[in-house]
């Protein structure tokens, strides 16, 4: 795992396989319900009793909330160290395990693809962001490309 660096990381620094840590992120019932009230007001994200009989088998965070939490861990663990200039989307996100109140998440973001722009002074770096819960189960996997400035640019 990488340590914080003083010089921002450029496109060339993101070699295949290089892995960055993010988190921990402690998930609370209050935050799950607050996010769901605003963006995803369904019973299995809002109400413990109603959630018991849902497919999730109990109160769990909205998938979009897990994306947002992953983004926070990625922003603090990767973007903050990089000469980065924004994102372009996400080719895939897999929501594999429910994220529940009391879970403590951590992230491993591994560089899985890089592509330099042929005409511009930057390149695309794609990370596979694996989010683990405290039981070391993979809760979500999110593919996250960033645009990183080339060194000397």
């Amino acid at each position: 795992m990488e340590q914080a660096m003083t010089t921002p990381l450029h496109f060339e620094d993101f070699t295949l396989g290089r892995t960055f840590a993010g988190g921990p992120y402690a998930v609370t019932k209050e935050e799950i319900v607050e996010f769901a009230r605003e963006f995803d007001p369904q019973p299995h994200h809002l109400d413990e009793e109603a959630a018991k009989t849902s497919l999730l088998g109990g109160l769990a965070a909205s998938g979009w909330h897990t994306c947002a939490m992953t983004m926070r861990m990625f922003a603090d663990g990767v973007i903050a160290k990089a000469a980065a200039r924004g994102g372009i989307g996400s080719p895939e996100g897999r929501w594999m395990k429910p994220v529940r109140p009391g879970d403590v998440l951590r992230m491993e973001a591994e560089v899985i693809a890089t592509k330099a722009s042929e005409s511009k002074p930057f390149g695309f770096v794609t990370f596979a962001c694996k989010v683990f819960n405290q039981r070391e189960q993979v809760a979500t996997i999110q593919m996250t490309p960033i645009v990183a400035t080339r060194s000397g640019a």
Binding site: S54, A84, E92
Partner: protein, 156 residues
């Protein structure tokens, strides 16, 4: 109208989900908590960024899709293909095509593009939707992704 089972949902059906105006206050509030990059949280620093001003987190744009989809489902009178859905295994091909700036209004829509059976269970199956948000003022496509929802199958 009775909510549709997975078997009854037609590929190609398109539903307008409504519009949403992004305020600076909301953009900053979301990003401070979940995506604290300077061009999402600091209007002054954002001016110096490649975006030339504050823009919404792409995840904020996505979360608003969910908000509008739930609201449309509630008022659809049984016509929404999502009435027997609620849980999702994830998404694919999410694209943030244009910056979403304070004061912009986006128009969201959802089209059913595919249906996939599950080998592991027979009570639910996957519905694929292609979801888009256009700038209501210019008509430009701003945001798109493919959603996956688990929808109840007709009991057998």
């Amino acid at each position: 109208m009775t909510p549709l089972y997975w078997e009854e949902i037609e590929i190609g059906g398109r539903r307008e989900l409504g519009t949403y105006r992004f305020s600076e206050e909301e953009i900053v509030r979301f990003a401070r908590k979940y995506d604290p990059q300077p061009f999402h949280v600091d209007p002054e620093a954002a001016k110096q960024s490649i975006f030339g001003g504050l823009i919404a987190s792409g995840w904020h744009t996505a979360a608003i899709w969910m908000k509008l989809a739930i609201a449309e489902r509630a008022r659809s009178g049984g016509a929404s293909p999502l009435l027997r859905a609620g849980v999702s295994p994830g998404y694919e091909d999410m694209r943030w095509l244009k910056p979403v700036r304070p004061g912009m209004t986006l128009r969201y829509a959802s089209t059913t593009v595919g249906k996939v059976e599950l080998k592991s269970r027979s009570d639910v199956a996957i519905l694929l939707t292609r979801n888009e948000a256009h700038d209501a003022a210019t008509g430009e496509l701003v945001f798109a992704f493919t959603g996956k929802g688990l929808v109840q199958r007709r009991p057998r």
